[in-house]
């Protein structure tokens, strides 16, 4: 329906593996998604589902012993995986900016907030240090922080909320094309979170920025995202427009996730059966099959592929793929 978005970030078949003592871990397995201009894509899933690894892969910062195996990361037509390290460095912070969950570990404890923002600016722009300082103060003020004081503060002198806003100001300081927010609002209290989400939403339109919003907080995702991708055990199991996915989830994991969340299922919460998967020891079939109520023979033996089951809505589930025709018929009638 809403196809006016120009695609800014296209990720194709991205896989990142970790070579650990316990064996190969496919932390991000064949990931595909697009983010359009001024669009917000939320990646949701439990911790350990591979969301953060996906985010770090986009910047090519997967930590040792991990490695990006294959895929394409097209940012406005440039494949980031083909860039040399120097070109990649210019992309980080300038075109693709990342905000982490824990703002205390975003900043070097012995340097001021201001020096962090300034060095980010001067790493990419030829500006005098006075100009960089003005720009940094401006950005801090934009986030509703007392510019001068927060500029001179050390990270530990700010409250968590202020620090997270400062981290956001730093990420936004160079007007990145895509902002990756990795659980960036999770640790904040509700009112502050709402403020920041509102600010981000406004910014997407004004600055033609795109947002990759990574979270396990379904409510936050519903509030800010245009589309969502649900990750489970390193794979995307469902994706589509936020309203469709939340109203009519196709993958059993998505529906189970929604049923376990108070905002979407008031009154009768149902926890998900079983425990999160061990990535080093996945079943050969659908990773969710051990916990799935609808699991059958094929689910345990064959990995389902992500298929479009509904206009713009895709899911990786044998059960629904088998019923695809039924679904079509249901839609017509």
């Amino acid at each position: 329906m809403d196809n006016v978005h120009k695609q800014v970030l296209e990720v194709k078949n991205l896989s990142a593996n970790f070579y650990t003592s316990r064996g190969l871990i496919r932390a991000a397995d064949n990931i595909n998604f697009n983010v359009g201009q001024s669009e917000c894509l939320a990646i949701i899933g439990e911790s350990g589902a591979g969301k953060s690894v996906t985010a770090l892969s986009l910047l090519r910062l997967v930590p040792h012993p991990g490695r990006i195996e294959e895929g394409e990361i097209n940012l406005e037509g440039r494949d980031l995986l083909q860039l040399n390290p120097k070109e990649m460095r210019r992309v980080r912070g300038e075109d693709l900016a990342l905000v982490f969950q824990d703002s205390l570990s975003t900043f070097n404890p012995v340097r001021t907030i201001g020096s962090h923002i300034c060095e980010t600016i001067t790493a990419h722009r030829k500006l005098s240090s006075a100009e960089a300082r003005d720009m940094a103060r401006c950005k801090l003020a934009e986030m509703g922080l007392p510019a001068e004081r927060s500029f001179r503060s050390f990270p530990f002198q700010l409250s968590g909320g202020m620090r997270q806003r400062a981290a956001l100001a730093m990420a936004m300081s160079l007007h990145p094309r895509v902002l990756i927010a990795d659980e960036a609002t999770t640790s904040l209290d509700v009112t502050l979170q709402a403020q920041i989400l509102h600010y981000l939403k406004k910014h997407l339109q004004e600055c033609c920025m795109s947002l990759l919003f990574i979270t396990h907080d379904l409510a936050a995702a519903a509030a800010v995202a245009d589309r969502v991708a649900v990750m489970y055990a390193g794979r995307i199991v469902e994706s589509g427009p936020v309203r469709e996915v939340f109203r009519q989830p196709l993958h059993p994991y998505t529906s189970a996730l929604l049923r376990s969340h108070p905002s979407f299922c008031p009154g009768r919460l149902e926890p998900i059966n079983g425990s999160p998967p061990d990535l080093a020891d996945l079943s050969p079939g659908c990773a969710f099959s051990p916990r799935c109520l609808k699991g059958r023979e094929i689910c345990r033996n064959k990995v389902p592929s992500l298929q479009e089951l509904w206009p713009e809505q895709q899911a990786a589930c044998h059960f629904h793929q088998a019923r695809k025709n039924d679904l079509r018929e249901a839609a017509v009638t």
Partner: protein
């Protein structure tokens, strides 16, 4: 800055009991010495040992009367810069020691320089090459280096470097800066090995921290990340250890001065020990104690400059 000043004053106040203790230990050492110092003084000066002369000598040395009184008298003398006179030369001890002090200071500075020049590059390179053959060789070298006694290293340097190469001075300090070379290396090498190991471990720890990843995600140059972010933070624990190192450094000067006939206070002290020249030994240990205390004060202050978290513990609170 006011916070710093307050801290400095508080720190100086806590030094008072330590300094009293240091002087007291120095003073009480004299009582440890076998024999009567007054008698030793008289025989050294070829003065006849008579009861009257002994009494005069005791008064001159301040070794009569009850202990607290003797200590108070001695301390008053020390505060006026009077450390007594050398048994052997009859010169004031303070003048003898101060005359030798610059040579020891040069040597200590040289040793410190060698330590930093070796430890910083080696520690950094080993951290960046982590896990490679070079890293393992470096670590083994550091382990072995830290185990070689400095007097042995000094003799090895003389035998296998200075003698075959000729022209590298090994005795005294008459040939300018070059005569400082081997003594400094002898003094600094073992410490460098320790510090290279420490710096490597700290750098590796810091490089794993999240803010380094955050710095990478902002597109900073690797040199900036290591130089500005990793190195400074890795240095903080190194600075806290410098205090202990200063002790090793000062202790090391004694040995090095003896091997290389370096005309410093350490050699003076060893000579004084063999001559049973107690006032000089006493002056030496007092001086070393004071120097060590001052060095630790400076280290504490620089530690606070490096780490704002400690600096701001008290005083400025959170920004609200």
């Amino acid at each position: 800055m006011q916070v710093m000043l307050k801290y400095l004053i508080r720190r100086l106040l806590t030094l008072v009991p330590v300094l009293l203790g240091v002087t007291f230990i120095t003073f009480i050492l004299m009582d440890l010495a076998p024999g009567d110092p007054a008698e030793i003084l008289l025989t050294r000066r070829d003065i006849e040992v008579t009861p009257e002369n002994l009494q005069l000598a005791r008064e001159a040395l301040g070794v009569d009367g009850p202990l607290p009184l003797r200590y108070a008298n001695w301390l008053l003398d020390v505060l006026q810069g009077n450390l007594g006179t050398s048994f052997t030369t009859g010169e004031p001890v303070s003048a003898e020691i101060l005359g030798r002090l610059p040579a020891t200071a040069e040597l200590a500075a040289g040793g410190l320089l060698v330590m930093f020049l070796l430890a910083f590059p080696l520690g950094t390179v080993a951290a960046l090459l982590r896990g490679t053959v070079g890293d393992h060789i470096g670590r083994l070298t550091a382990l072995v280096g830290a185990s070689i006694p400095s007097f042995y290293l000094g003799l090895l340097l003389i035998t296998y470097i200075a003698v075959p190469m000729e022209g590298i001075p090994v005795m005294g300090k008459d040939e300018g800066l070059i005569s400082l070379l081997l003594p400094s290396v002898t003094l600094g090498f073992g410490l460098a090995a320790t510090y290279a190991r420490l710096l490597r471990a700290n750098l590796l720890e810091v490089l794993q921290l999240d803010y380094i990843r955050s710095a990478r995600s902002r597109g900073l140059r690797e040199a900036v990340i290591i130089g500005r972010h990793a190195f400074r933070n890795a240095l903080i624990p190194v600075v806290t250890l410098l205090g202990i190192t200063m002790g090793h450094l000062l202790g090391g000067t004694v040995v090095v001065e003896r091997i290389f006939a370096w005309p410093g206070v350490g050699r003076l002290a060893v000579e004084a020990i063999f001559d049973r020249n107690y006032p000089v030994i006493q002056g030496y240990v007092l001086l070393m104690g004071l120097a060590f205390v001052c060095m630790n004060l400076v280290i504490d202050l620089s530690y606070r400059l490096l780490d704002p978290r400690v600096r701001m513990e008290e005083g400025e609170g959170k920004v609200s």
